[in-house]
């Protein structure tokens, strides 16, 4: 597709369930980011991939959060044993270049609600 695609757009999980959120970046984009956006707040950085290498995971809030991009294209953000505080919109963004200068192209996000 022409843009960054995320699925599912909406996910409701019971506390304690595991969830997986998928991101299809724009074809050929080297850099991929995950952000978490709580209700009424700005997005907060979670993790960054350059191709298949996860270069920065300093924003992941706990060891229940795990992200991968095994072939340097599609990425999955996995949250284990979900908690209510994990409820947020998870945004994926990709960029055609390495480093900080490239424009980021965002997807429409996956809204996670943990009951």
């Amino acid at each position: 597709g022409a843009g960054v695609s995320q699925s599912p757009r909406y996910k409701v999980a019971k506390r304690g369930q595991d969830v997986a959120l998928r991101c299809d970046p724009i074809s050929g984009h080297v850099s991929l980011f995950w952000y978490q956006q709580a209700l009424g707040q700005g997005p907060e950085f979670l993790t960054y991939f350059q191709n298949e290498a996860q270069l920065d995971k300093s924003g992941l809030p706990s060891d229940r959060f795990f992200a991968e991009r095994p072939e340097g294209s599609v990425s999955t953000l996995k949250i284990q044993r979900t908690q209510q505080e994990d409820s947020a919109v998870y945004l994926c963004a990709s960029s055609p270049v390495q480093g900080p200068t490239g424009e980021l192209f965002f997807g429409e996000g996956s809204r996670l609600t943990v009951l």
């Binding site: 952000y35 009424g40 950085f45 920065d56 900080p100 424009e103 965002f106 429409e108």
Partner: protein, 114 residues
């Protein structure tokens, strides 16, 4: 730590009028990039305008322009001839030259009155 502050939770403007959204930031680095993003209800962040800190000239994109005051660490967005389609959340963001991370402010909701 770098921070970005948007002190206006909500702003309202009459269609065809001009509105200015405020943003201040704090960083100890000299090389960085500043951005304004628009987030409509669809949730997709759309880049409105960007400014490189080393450039003194204020960036302009059609009806959107910025007032970049480096010494004051201020980066405001001016929207001229406001249109109904401009209604959205607007986020100011900063990225250091040495980092991959975008640091976002808390956003300003812009309402456009017909």
């Amino acid at each position: 730590a770098q921070t970005v502050t948007q002190s206006q939770p909500e702003m309202s403007v009459q269609e065809a009028e001009t509105v200015t959204l405020s943003c201040t930031y704090d960083t100890s680095e000299s090389d960085y990039y500043l951005f304004w993003y628009k987030q409509p209800p669809s949730r997709q962040m759309i880049l409105v305008i960007r400014q490189e800190a080393y450039k003194q000239q204020n960036a302009t994109e059609n009806r959107f322009s910025v007032n970049f005051q480096k010494a004051a660490k201020s980066f405001s967005l001016k929207i001229s001839d406001s249109q109904l389609g401009d209604a959205a959340m607007y986020f100011c963001a900063c990225r250091m030259d040495s980092s991959y991370k975008l640091i976002f402010g808390s956003g300003t909701r812009l309402l456009v009155r017909p």
